[in-house]
Each structure stands twice: as structure tokens, then as C-alpha cells.
Symmetry: C2
Subunit: 415 residues, 2 copies
């Protein structure tokens, strides 16, 4: 890929709350993913507090290392002055009231029946050295600055505003500015039910046949392989044909477009078979349901989950037998199988997954140390169970077990 096609990006995250560790920055990851899919390489990410000198230094270093600098945060009604002041120091200009921003803010508040206060109105004050990109997800305007062939885009810090704007208007403006002729293209799709080596063998000829500037990458994770086809300079129709050919070669191993989560894959497999899903959760404490419901439109497949944390709940809601609980304990193959089958009955679905384990930090024994988790998957064809030994803290074990339970069901279905 010629250097013309790869552009460099640097991100500056502004806000004391980040440095205090009170808020985890997810904006830089969102921006890297969205622009990475358009051929941008992130050179660095810097987080700084709400003070002018640190913001100035970070922006300076970022502009020195990249073609495009994106800042997030530091634009709230109360913190405006600092960041805007720094930007005017670099790009010049003076603050002017932008009527289009005022209108956007007024519509935004009117639409929600909220009363507009002066602090919020002040957000319409923008440096006349920038071009405003209207924030359709909030009130803080996105500001586009240019200097010496470099571009700085100042974005709000609210994660869903940043996501909405970077995926939409900001990405388009960046494309238009940096790739006026022919653009970088990427197709991603997810494959399952096949090992990386077997897949690489199947796709060997296809890879050899790819035109110059186009290449295929394998991004494997347990049970899932994401295929990424990147191309520079290929026209739309030719690239579409290359991606379509790849889908054909994947055949039954094709799970869907993009990089899919275990939950998204299971939902897709079940949807194609018009089957329904539910869960019975103990140690995962609702994380299976949370992973599944994180996928928009899951309701046609997913009916619900019974989080049976107490043994009484396992008995009363899932019909787990008191003897099994007494003789083998809640963390056992017998109990996890009964949980999966009980959930299937209780929620009237075709399939169910179940989890029962010791997430810690307490509750471990020499026989069943922390990280011991039994998972089960029940389908019309039968029920299978698997014993896991997971590492990590309470959260890592719980969410790891949730993902593994969904993968077990998929294996069971695609056998």
C-alpha cells in the first residue's frame, strides 16, 4: 500500500477525570477503529488534564507526529474556555457567536422540553478560525482547524456523541479532505467452525490472486476468525467483487459481516434456523444476558435469562434437584446440565446456555479453586457440558465464562 494511502492520526484526550482514573477513556479506541477502517494509522494517544499548558504541549506533540489530530473532551459548558483558548493560540482567530450552533442548541433543548441556560448558550461561541461541523448528538460543536497542511478536529467528550460524529460527519469530512481521489477500502467478515490453518489453506489461491495494494488479514480469537480485506486504489465495483468472492469461499463457515462478538454470532446462527435462546446463570450473574442484549435486534431470538444466584432459585425457577445440589454442589456438571434444561423448559426456547462456577475472590477450595466454571448448552439435539479453569479477577472470570458458554452452544449447533 503506497504511503499516499496510509495517513497518520494522533489523538489527545482532555479531562481531569481521565487522569484521576474516575472515567475510562473509550473515545480514543472508537476513533482508532472507525478511522482505522478507512486506512488511518494511529501513531499515539495522549491523555491530559484540564489545564492550558498540558493541553498545548500534547496538541503540539500530536501535530508533529501525525497528519490529523483529533481531540476529545474539554468542551463542556464549564471547561470551554481552556481548550478553545489553547486552540486559538495555535490556529489564531477570536471567539464569535455562531448562529448555526445557537440554532442547533435551541432545537436540541426544545426537542427535549428542557430550558436552556446561559452556560450552554456559551457553547455557540467558537473561534472564527475554525469550520464548525454541527454536533447532531449534543450541544458542543465539533470544530475543524487547518494549519500547514495538517488538520485538527476538536470533538466533545461524551462517548456516544463522539461515536456518532466520528462515524458520520467527521469521517466524511476527513475522507473528503485527505482522499479526494480514490479511497482506501476495507471489508470485514467473521468466520467460525474452522481453524485458522485450515482456513488459510482454503484461501491460499484466493490470496495469491489478489491485486497489488490489496491484502487479506486473519484476526483470530478463540473459536472466531475475523477476516479483514484491505485495499488501496481499487474501485468500488472491483472491491465489491473481491469481498463477494471471499464470502463464497467461506461457505458455511461465513458467520456475518464485520467483527462479530460470540453473542452476535450465536444470534445469527439461531436466527437463520428460526430457533430461540435463553440462559440460566449463576457465576456469570447476568453477563450472558448482557452480552446478548448488547446486540440490537436480539429480541426475535433471545427470550431472557434466569439469574439463579441462590440455590433456592436454582431449585424453584430451574427445577434443579435438591439432591444434586447437596451431593455434587452447585458447581458441578449435573447441576449445570439441569440448569440449562430447566431454563429451556421455563422460558420455552429451543436452546439454552448455563453457567455455574466460582468467580472468587472467596469460595474456592482445593478441589474447586477460584476460576472453576461448569458451562452447558442445551439444544433440541441434546445437552453438552464443559469444565473451564479460568484465570483473572472476579469480573474477568464472570465475563469470560459468559462468552465461552455462548461459544459452546455454537459448537454444539454447528457440529
Amino acid at each position: 500500500m503506497s504511503t499516499d494511502d496510509i495517513r497518520t492520526l494522533s489523538i489527545v484526550v482532555i479531562g481531569d477525570e481521565i487522569l484521576l482514573g474516575r472515567v475510562t477513556d473509550t473515545n480514543s479506541g472508537t476513533i482508532s477503529r472507525v478511522l482505522g477502517a478507512r486506512g488511518w494509522e494511529t501513531r499515539g494517544v495522549r491523555a491530559v488534564g484540564d489545564n492550558a499548558s498540558d493541553i498545548r504541549a500534547a496538541i503540539g506533540a500530536a501535530m508533529a507526529e501525525a497528519d490529523l489530530v483529533i481531540t476529545t473532551g474539554g468542551l463542556g459548558p464549564t471547561r470551554d474556555d481552556i481548550t478553545k483558548g489553547v486552540l486559538m493560540g495555535i490556529f489564531g482567530g477570536k471567539l464569535v457567536m455562531d448562529p448555526s450552533v445557537t440554532e442547533n442548541i435551541e432545537c436540541f433543548f426544545a426537542g427535549r422540553g428542557l430550558t436552556l441556560n446561559e452556560l450552554t448558550r456559551q457553547q455557540a461561541l467558537v473561534p472564527d478560525s475554525c469550520r464548525v461541523i454541527q454536533n447532531t448528538f449534543g450541544t458542543a460543536p465539533v470544530m475543524w482547524f487547518e494549519k500547514d497542511g495538517k488538520v485538527l478536529v476538536a470533538m466533545p467528550g461524551v462517548p456516544f456523541e463522539t461515536r456518532g460524529m466520528i462515524e458520520g460527519a467527521v469521517a466524511d469530512a476527513v475522507e473528503a479532505h485527505f482522499h479526494p481521489h480514490g479511497r482506501f477500502r476495507r471489508a470485514e467478515m467473521t468466520a467460525t467452525g474452522i481453524t485458522e490453518s485450515a482456513l488459510a489453506e482454503r484461501l491460499a489461491d484466493y490470496e495469491d490472486s489478489l491485486p497489488a495494494g490489496t491484502h487479506l488479514a486473519y484476526l483470530p480469537s478463540p473459536g472466531i476468525i475475523v477476516l479483514r480485506l484491505d485495499s488501496a486504489g481499487t474501485d468500488a465495483a472491483a472491491f465489491k467483487a473481491l469481498a463477494e468472492h471471499l464470502r463464497t469461499l467461506l461457505g458455511d463457515n461465513y458467520s456475518g459481516e464485520g467483527a462479530m462478538s460470540a453473542a452476535a454470532i450465536v444470534l445469527e446462527v439461531l436466527r437463520r434456523r428460526s430457533m430461540t435462546l435463553c440462559a440460566a446463570e449463576s457465576c456469570t450473574g447476568g453477563r450472558v444476558a448482557a452480552a446478548v442484549t448488547a446486540v440490537a435486534g436480539c429480541s426475535d431470538v433471545f427470550h431472557g435469562s434466569i439469574v439463579a444466584y441462590a440455590n433456592s432459585a436454582k431449585r424453584n425457577l430451574l427445577g434443579v434437584s435438591a439432591e444434586s445440589l447437596a451431593s455434587e454442589g452447585a458447581v458441578s456438571e449435573t447441576v449445570v446440565r439441569q440448569m440449562a434444561e430447566g431454563a429451556r423448559r421455563a422460558l420455552g426456547t429451543d436452546c439454552a446456555v448455563a453457567t455455574s462456577g466460582i468467580a472468587g475472590p472467596d469460595g474456592g477450595t482445593p478441589q474447586k479453586p477460584v476460576g472453576t466454571v461448569w458451562i452447558a448448552a442445551a439444544t433440541p439435539a441434546g445437552t453438552c457440558a464443559q469444565l473451564l479453569h479460568l484465570r483473572g479477577d472476579r469480573e474477568a472470570i464472570a465475563s469470560g465464562a459468559a462468552a465461552r458458554a455462548l461459544m459452546l452452544l455454537m459448537k454444539q449447533l454447528t457440529l
Copy 2:
């Protein structure tokens, strides 16, 4: 607080996966919180890819701005050479096989019945210019370097290894090195059921009476106020007395030590009254259960949650009436009240919370736009419900509603 007591920290996060946005960095937040509680101020966080020049530049800038630099990542078996090479470039020395690390790695693998491969064994190769702090949570050693009165600590990238080590051996080593005489002390506690202004009024005299170098900070969030007492130079006994006095002044508004989550607070309130809890979840899809089970030791209070995503599940598992679903819809006060009361019956608990709303992106209507959520809290004293209009994407709405439902129960209990 004198500048002697405040020390500055800078963090360098190493790894292509961070810059690609495939992994979200949580290590820098963990380190900032843990050392912040010991009087350290984080000056900046830099994320760089797995290449020598970027790592060198980031470490150089970090060492220029802070007394202590902590790096995370770049130490995996496959990436060792790069980071260790850069560190030897800065601190000198040559790679030597450290027998104590070899022993740690062998014990680690033996304890898990895993076979040790050569790549992993290579992790015992450390620069002889550093002091090794044994990693009790994994195989990559923690390395302590000193130069010109500054300290660099190279830590692994695995979040739970970083958390375990920073809270333990690394924090202790840092204390011993930087605060040999008298240390910075902090006490945090959470207050609820009172407004910030009312609390500030009650604590005015206490704040005036605090000795020099000691001060009280208010960290308010909806329904919760975290009080942070920081002190430099006060001896242990005197500081203990100051914190105890604060607890006494909080009285019934004292919820517990540290900065507690809504779930942790509810669990504590219910535990003191020997009451039990369950949930009925629709739009939160298991996030109430996940928030509650994230608190270790919740099982004495929390029995479980019925995630009734489908209306059939609301009817069959929670006894929600078909008429109410038909006439008022699932997102209505009537239904959410029936859900809470139904969960209380089904799981046999004293209290229950329930949620039903539209998380989006689809499913909104002019009457019930995306973000419309009904929450309810049922106690032996009765059931209350509240209508929320939440902003944000699907995940923000779902987890926001979960926290608000738990806060509603707490308000109901502490009225």
C-alpha cells in the same frame, strides 16, 4: 499540602492492540486510582505501539514530566525484546537470566499443570540494571529502574496482573522509596440520603477544625456523595481519629468505606436490615444482576434476577397480566410494578427492582422515544415506580437504567 507530599506520576501504555482500538486500556486508570490514593498526581498518560522509537520517545517525555514513570504492556513472551531493549538503552545493563524469575515461572506453570515453553522461559531474561519485583499474578517480571533520582517501573499489560501488583508490592516499593518519613494518608467513605449542601453545612465546623495539611473533598454523583479525607504528615493514630470523627458526624447517612457503587450501597443497606434482594429486568438485560454480582460476597443478600426480555417471559415467570401488556405496553408503570412484585414472589425476597424501557437504536415512538425507561422498587412497605428519560446509546441507556433502579430502591428504603 506541601509539594514534598505530592509526587508526580506519568504512565506509558505499550501495545499495538491499544492503538488499533481492539483493546481498551484500563491499566492507566487503575494505576492512577491506586497511587492517587497515596498522594500521587498523574501528569499524563501516553499510549504507543510496539515499536522501539515510539516507546523510547514516550518514556523520555514521561520521565521529563514526572518523578515516577510506570509502563504497562510490551512484556509478553513475543514482544519482550523491544521494550527491554529500549529500557537498556535508557538505563544501561545487559540481559541476564534471573533464577528467581525462572523459579516463579516454573512454579506458576507447575501449579496449573501447564507445560512451559521456551518463549515463556525467556521472560526470565531481565536487564541487570533493574531490580526485579516478583510478579505473583503471572509470569512477566515487574522491573524497577532508577536514574537521576527518577524511577521507572515496567509492569505487565494483563489488567488483573497490573491491578494485583500495583495495589500490593509495587505500591509498597513506591511508598518505601519516595516517602521514607511519614506518608500521605487518605480515607474515603460514602454518604447517601442527604444533599451535598446539607452535608457541607453539617460538616462546616469539622472542616474548620482540620489540622494544616489535611482537607476534606466532596465527590458527588446522583444520590451518592463520596467523602475523601487527605492528609500529609499526620501520624496514623491522629488520622484514624479524624476519620472516625467524620463517620460519627455522618450518622445514618454513612453508607460504608471507600467509593461505593449504587449496587454496593444497596447491598450494605439491605445486609444491615437482614433483607434480601432480587430483580426483574427487561431493557437492562441482566445489567442489574451484573452490577450486583460484581460486588464480592453479595450472595447473602442477592438471590437472582429474572431477565424477562420477551413478553411471554414477563407473563409466565413474573405473572405480568396479558391485558396490561396489551393495553399499556411493556414499557409502562403498570407493567414495571407487576414485574417488581412478580420477581419478589418468584424469588421469595424482601425487595426487588424492575426495569422496562426502550434502549434503542430502534423501537422508539413519538410517545415513547428511545431512552424512555420505567423503573420500580418493591419492598415490604410497598412498591414505587419512576419514569426516566435517558440519553446515550443502547449500552449507556441499559447500564444507566440499572444503576437508577438500584438508587430508587435505596431511596425507598431510607425514606
